[in-house]
């Protein structure tokens, strides 16, 4: 048994609900070294995504989610999320269901697509490192509970591992040393979305 379009819709709704409550936190975090809009980006994007009626075709469902982000959240982060969702759409095209064990490989494809779009590299303390860490954690797991638990742990470890490095991408890059000690807002946003998935 894997996951279907209806699971995606339920997940989007949970994440969207969480996004509303963390919007301020993410704006503040983004404002420290950027333009302070990440909370808006994330909450608007998921609100729109959750409001869409998803088709049964899993690939087209991912595509709709991607388009929702493209429509309302064209900032760096929104565009990267849309790019990642597009990769998932390609991977699941024409199917009604996907296995939990596909999550790991889908995350790898999302990560690569996001790197190509944003011309970023791993190790620069961005959402890319987070997706990479989640992909590694998900690898080989084929049931939802352990998978979510692994992802949860990996997200925390990833934040911890990068906190004391300088940002090398996006607006925060300019602040160099000053970014040391601060969580990358894009990574933190991913962490909060996982909180949403876990109904925290």
């Amino acid at each position: 048994m894997g996951f279907a379009s209806s699971d995606l819709a339920a997940a989007a709704e949970r994440v969207a609900r969480k996004a509303e409550t963390v919007a301020d936190e993410l704006n503040v975090q983004d404002g420290k070294l950027g333009d302070g809009d990440l909370g808006i980006t994330v909450s608007k994007g998921w609100r729109e995504a959750a409001s869409v009626d998803l088709p049964d075709d899993l690939g087209r469902a991912f595509l709709e989610l991607s388009k929702a982000f493209q429509r309302v959240s064209p900032s760096s982060y929104g565009t990267l999320v849309a790019t990642g969702l597009m990769a998932a759409a390609k991977a699941t095209k024409g199917r009604k269901e996907a296995g939990w064990d596909e999550i790991g490989p889908i995350l790898v494809q999302a990560r690569d697509a996001m790197m190509a779009r944003g011309k970023g590299e791993l190790g620069q303390k961005s959402v890319l490192d987070m997706v990479d860490a989640l992909a590694a954690a998900a690898d080989g797991l084929d049931t939802p509970a352990p998978l979510l638990k692994a992802i949860d742990t990996a997200a925390t470890e990833c934040l911890d591992a990068f906190r004391d490095k300088p940002n090398g991408l996006g607006r925060a890059r300019m602040f160099g040393e000053k970014s040391i000690g601060l969580d990358d807002p894009g990574m933190l946003a991913a962490r909060r979305m996982i909180d949403g998935l876990l109904d925290r």
Binding site: L33, D35, G39, I40, P74, T79
Partner: protein, 332 residues
Amino acid sequence: MKKILNNPADYVDEMLDGMIAAHPDIYAQPSPRVVSRAGGATQGKVGIVTGGGSGHLPIFTGYVGKGLLDAAAIGDVFASPSAEQMAESMRQAHGGAGVLRLYGNYGGDVMNFDMAGETVELEDDIASTTVLLADDVVSAPPEEAEKRRGVAGMVYAFKIAGAKAEEMADLETVTAVAQKTADACRSIGMALTPCTVPQAGKPTFELGENEMEMGMGIHGEPGIWRDALKQADAITDEMIERLTADMPLASGDHVSILVNSLGATPPEELYIMYRRAKARLEGAGVSIVSPLVGRYATSMEMTGATVTLCKLDDEMEALLKAPCHCAYWTVG
């Protein structure tokens, strides 16, 4: 939030409605968040498009007009437009001779404009090129100059490339002139008070009564470093020194200078800065051509200023002086 608005979510759309209504002879809005010239694309002319967030008037949409831009895609305040809106701006600007995408180096904008370029190439067979403004000297060291963000230098690129396109030069030529201009611009900013993004509702940074932010962007980002508030001459000196350290000027060089308000700083104070900047540059034997002093690239109600130097060759100088007309800038 001390702003004049209705529902913050409607800020940009109502603003665009009002702008088109106030200047129907200059601007049109063929589809939401896309502004074109009132008369549409000029057949046979290279189209120039730009795009980026709202909240910077006259940048971006304000510079659509004769001798300047053909269309602009405009996002929420300080946020990129969508790739689809950018693609539509390119369709609107296309007069059969291709389109130059001329905008500031910001992550979201670049990703979306790249997508837009791919889309119109596939769907509409429109050839296009990109020139990115990356003029803010404090946003990356010279070795990584291509990572710098784009600020007020855009104004020179719009004007000079716009004049070249108006001469019916081809896409390659217009692109080359735009790139030459982008390469010749250096900018630096400082801010005294922040601004408020309507949908966020509060300022993104706080600053003490006797502090200023140096190396300020135009998106309400904090500056690169914070300093005690100094006198106008000292601020201007520091800005000019940092710009000329990055782009050395020699006696006999011709430059234009833009002393730009980020919004609230009044022209009175820009003139005080200009007075000093002129003395410094002329003291070094540099000739100032077509100086610009005013509100050319803003962050809504932010208090502060940016200084841009644009080093001119003969071609650029002539194009800078060529006629243009939009609601914010008329030459000739």
